[in-house]
């Protein structure tokens, strides 16, 4: 025990160590009590706070998308439906070698460069256990091929989800429109919580204007999730409320018949039930396939559509603004009677042109030789321009525009499809405001025959003629007849924009105009008498020509020489049967020349289809 110079003092060392050991024991107790104090703070003091955090940690709310409402025509034909589509998806965490798996899949089904590109972009954005879509819209054969090879493709899955589909593609494109993926700017205008699980939104047409009704209400699932967000079990389930179905007043058979009647021509047709304002057919030719837009259209296809000279994406019925031409004459004639400007039997002598006092300019009639002495009835039936130059001049532009305003010129009809154009009703004020010029009397003349500044859409034309047919009743056209709850089958009718009826001074005036229009078709000299052959009902109509470009003084308009796209538009408005109007139609054929030759036969075909029982009337 003894070593070195200093002696070890065993007793002293033992007691020194004992003191230190006791101190260490005390320190141990203090430190462990410190830990207990900390645990008291966490588990008692802050218990509630941490319980909340732990709940928030584990419970996750997952939104469930509602099923979009279906769209039917008036006979129950489905125009917009939800079809299961198959998507090939990859779950990254179950795949050991992603490029190898993609290569293997690529040998079984076609994968394009853009598929792969989009996949890798999505792959980075999603979590390891989340499905990343690789290919959309697999066909049955592809689904089968993948299914057979699934054993050697771990992490590759086929999922089906509902995708919007339009079985009548081009036929309904300008009515129903389409849905597409929700875009950034749309996020600002929608209730994002209700769209939490929704990927698509109505972009145009009924799909857009009835978005609120079609969409439904989002459901929720309270899900217990782990730290990586993977759902483990459902704690609470609030099912989504599906969107409501829409029943359109559109008759698909009529719609298809109208399109067939157009043949290769471009233009628009709107057919309305004048009693209800229900739209029976709404055609804008050409149409396009709305299915292309549902899951994203590729740039090339889109450019082809958007840049096409045929302008298939342009809804001519709603947005095309054309001079109404002579189709406005019955209304102006009615205005002349109702305002007391003319009497029914006051004749005007037509010598083929009209001049204003102190002006050498000749305002020509379409018939160079003139119509001779004409009264209002003949002026309408034969579409005498000189009569209406005179009438317009006598009425004056202010009275004239006031009367046209009653019919809704220059005002949106209020149809339940967004994007409708308002047309243009020129007035003195308008001219001063926009052109900084006074109104010239010559402009009054050409307004009288529906040319000049006056612009209308085919939809407006159809509404005007419907109003004319129903004795002044104005109804804003609607394509949706009923909204149906898919669960209860309970139907409601969408609200309609109320319109003021045209004031009627003397019903006899209206009757006279109708008779004159009937003679347009049925009269000896009617401009549309060509379509009256073998017609079994009485129809009233009015032809018109919408000028595409103005003619210089003394210049002759020669249809043959003018390039097709510079040719005048053919217009025809009509309703039938005359005594009990059930259908009012406006037709516009772009570059069709005169209204009688091209536009009127189309209207006749649609009316026949609608009014006459046909052997083809079996459900589509």
């Amino acid at each position: 025990m003894v070593r070195g110079i200093t002696l070890k003092d065993s007793f002293r060392e033992t007691s020194l160590f004992r003191a230190r050991a006791i101190l260490a024991g005390t320190l141990t107790a203090v430190l462990l009590l410190l830990l207990i104090a900390r645990l008291l703070y966490l588990q008692v003091g802050q218990h509630e706070h941490f319980t909340t955090l732990s709940q928030a940690n584990r419970v996750n709310i997952q939104p469930l998308p509602p099923t979009r409402g279906l769209i039917f025509d008036r006979n129950g034909v489905v125009l917009a439906e939800n079809l299961p589509t198959f998507t090939l998806e990859i779950i990254p965490e179950r795949v050991t070698d992603i490029p190898a798996t993609l290569a293997a899949v690529g040998e079984l089904i076609t994968l394009t460069e853009s598929d792969l590109e989009r996949f890798y972009v999505e792959l980075k954005r999603r979590r390891r256990f989340e499905k990343v879509p690789l290919r959309f819209k697999l066909n049955d054969e592809e689904v089968a091929t993948i299914a057979v090879n699934r054993h050697r493709l771990p992490g590759v899955e086929i999922s089906s989800r509902l995708s919007r589909h339009y079985p009548w593609d081009t036929h309904t494109s300008h009515i129903v429109g389409y849905v597409g993926r929700i875009a950034e700017p749309e996020l600002k205008s929608i209730d994002t919580s209700n769209y939490a699980a929704t990927t698509h939104i109505g972009k145009v047409g009924v799909e857009r204007s009835y978005e609120d009704v079609l969409h439904g209400k989002v459901g929720y699932e309270q899900v217990e999730t782990n730290a990586r967000g993977r759902a483990l079990r459902v704690l609470e389930h609030t099912p989504p409320i599906p969107g409501k179905n829409l029943h359109l007043s559109i008759d698909l058979r009529l719609q298809v018949a109208a399109e067939e009647a157009f043949g290769k021509e471009h233009g628009a047709l709107v057919a309305i039930d004048p009693q209800t304002g229900a739209v029976l057919a709404l055609v804008s030719m050409p149409g396009y396939d709305p299915n292309l837009f549902v899951n994203g259209i590729d740039a090339e296809t889109y450019r082809a559509l958007a840049d096409s000279p045929d302008r298939p994406l342009f809804n001519r019925a709603l947005r095309g603004q054309y001079p109404p031409g002579s189709t406005v004459k019955p209304i102006i004639g009615l205005g002349g009677l109702e305002t007391g400007t003319v009497k029914p039997n006051d004749p005007v002598f037509c010598r083929g042109y009209y001049t204003l006092e102190g002006d050498s300019r000749r305002y020509r009639d379409w018939r160079k030789s003139g119509h001779g002495p004409v009264v209002l009835h003949d002026a309408i039936a034969q579409s005498c321009d000189v009569y209406f130059y005179d009438l317009a001049l006598n009425m004056g532009i202010d009275k004239l525009t006031d009367y046209l305003r009653h019919f809704g010129f220059g005002e949106r009809t209020g149809i339940d499809i967004v994007g409708e154009a308002a047309g243009l009703l020129p007035t003195r004020d308008w001219k001063r405001r926009v052109h900084h010029q006074p109104w010239y009397p010559g402009e009054t003349l050409i307004t009288g025959i529906g040319q000049g500044f006056l612009l209308t859409t085919p939809l407006q034309l159809s509404a005007h003629v419907a109003t004319l047919s129903s004795g002044g009743k104005r109804l804003s056209p609607q394509v949706v007849a009923a909204i149906e709850d898919p669960a209860t089958r309970h139907r409601t009718h969408p609200a309609r924009k109320p319109l003021e009826d045209v004031p009627v001074k003397n019903p006899d005036h209206w009757q006279r105009i109708t008779e004159a229009m009937a003679d347009v078709v049925h009269g000896m000299h009617g401009t549309a008498r060509g379509i009256s052959r073998s017609v079994t009902y009485r129809m009233a109509g009015k032809t018109g020509t919408a000028q595409v470009f103005g003619l210089a003084q003394d210049e002759e308009y020669d249809e043959e020489k003018v390039a097709k796209k510079l040719r005048d538009h053919a217009v025809f408005v009509s309703f039938a049967p005359v005594d009990d109007p059930r259908i009012a139609i406006a037709v516009l054929v772009e570059n069709g020349g005169g209204g009688s030759a091209v536009a009127a036969p189309i209207a006749r075909k649609v009316m026949d289809r609608f009014l006459l029982p046909s052997p083809e009337d079996k459900p589509l």
């Binding site: 070593r3 070195g4 200093t6 002696l7 070890k8 003092d9 007793f11 002293r12 060392e13 020194l16 160590f17 004992r18 230190r20 050991a21 260490a24 024991g25 320190l27 141990t28 107790a29 430190l31 462990l32 410190l34 830990l35 207990i36 900390r38 645990l39 008291l40 966490l42 588990q43 008692v44 802050q46 218990h47 706070h49 941490f50 319980t51 955090l53 732990s54 940690n57 584990r58 217990e224 999730t225 782990n226 730290a227 990586r228 483990l232």
Partner: protein, 371 residues
Amino acid sequence: MNTFTDTPATALWAKRLHLDVPLLVGLLLLAGLGLVTLYSAGGQDMDVVLRQLARLGIGFGVMLAVAQIPPSALHRWTPWFYGIGLAALVAVLITGVIGKGAQRWLELGVLRFQPSELMKVAVPAMVAWYFAEKPLPPRLSQVFWAVVLFLVPFALVAKQPDLGTALLIGSAGATALLFAGIRWRLVGYAFLAFIPTVVLAWLYGLHDYQRRRIITFLDAESDPLGAGYHIIQSKIAIGSGGVYGKGWLNGTQSHLEFLPERHTDFIFAVFGEEFGLLGAVLLLAIYFFVISRGLYIAINAQDTFRRLLAGSLTISLLVYVFVNIGMVSGILPVVGVPLPLLSYGGSSLVTLMTGFGILMSIQTHRKLVNT
């Protein structure tokens, strides 16, 4: 001096195997609680439990084996162990530099040898060895050399970088020095010297991730999804456990995988969530009992070497427990220190059980001496 009041039969059996029954009971209780918690933390995977059971078996086997070695032999071998450990640490450092990356072990054929684990025992043993024959309290020069003895391996391990283990090695050496009776005045000076050392270490000695961990500890909420995530989630686990806990197998934090490293360093968060404050107090009481027993053995040890070694090995256990629970409950920064006998893992368990084996050896190889 009588040892403990055992029943004669147990005493005989324990004496033959050189086991200290109270220490053994404490350790078995801890191991049992560990397995129960691990079953829950591992998502009720029996495989994890069985693997840990196998490790515990090895650990207790090592303890039993070490307990048979008389302390005098340990005393003789200490410089060798220390030397080998130091050389191995240098070797690890060199291969680490060559391999350009953190390295903590040496590949010896099939065996993976982690010298820092050896040093957890070898360093306090070496300090104890150094003071064994010297009159105590030590002189200043002796204190200096003792500090060198533990500071060199501390620095080497910290450099690996393994701050947790370095801390345990350093504290074991420092504890041995304290038990040797170093004067408080010197402790005071050391403490004063400590502050500039910390500043220097912060500026030059720490790796970025270590610095980040400390910053994170000081303000966990600043980075809730990054480095602060561990602390926030474990505090949520413990806090939501409340007084009585959510019940065994009912901890949502651990079962839904919000808790990181829940079977290893953060197992206490699982324990706290499922067994609450009451369970935690019980667990800490068992640790206190084991530490007390270790100090009792140290006090009753028969020479300086044994006393210092037993004392510092016992306090190592305290450091483990305090640092681990302190870190999991958010009062200490996150350093990789396991919770003794509860955390899942092999090498540190073997080291720990070696330490307990030494304690048992010291307790059971006593000659009856009349003082």
